[in-house]
Symmetry: C2
Subunit: 80 residues, 2 copies
């Protein structure tokens, strides 16, 4: 059964408020030279069928549910 991993990240031009908050906490721990902290999501799932079919279905799921196409990019990995 193919295992799908989807990586969803905020588009680079957008301000990442969650990333900013984490960056503040990182600096507070003494790592003040850490920059450009950005947060994304991983969604793992399994579905029956072939690898290419799974990828296509994952793409539909990303567009409809898992990612916001206006603000986020996604990348799909399929392990057959």
């Amino acid at each position: 059964m193919p295992k799908i991993t989807v990586y969803v990240t905020l588009k680079p031009t957008l301000l990442d408020a969650q990333g900013r908050t984490v960056e503040g906490a990182v600096h507070h721990l003494g790592y003040e030279d850490v920059t450009n902290v950005r947060i994304g999501k991983i969604i793992e799932m399994e579905m029956p069928g072939g690898a290419e079919e799974a990828r296509e279905r994952a793409r539909v799921l990303c567009d409809k549910l898992l990612a916001n196409p206006v603000t986020e990019s996604y990348r799909i990995e399929v392990q057959p």
Copy 2:
């Protein structure tokens, strides 16, 4: 400047409540054969220094801040 990507996922034995919710939404869209949906986090950041030093510092940050070692596993990738 090395770019670090940290992948944080819930340990496999733990119930992923957020994943269950997303799985319900996926089924609701008609993809009822999708199973084992699990949600994780990606943290991207940049820090000066060499790749090995960056990896070591990222490991400290994971243990102290970015991951909960009781419930989560993490994997660190460094692009020099």
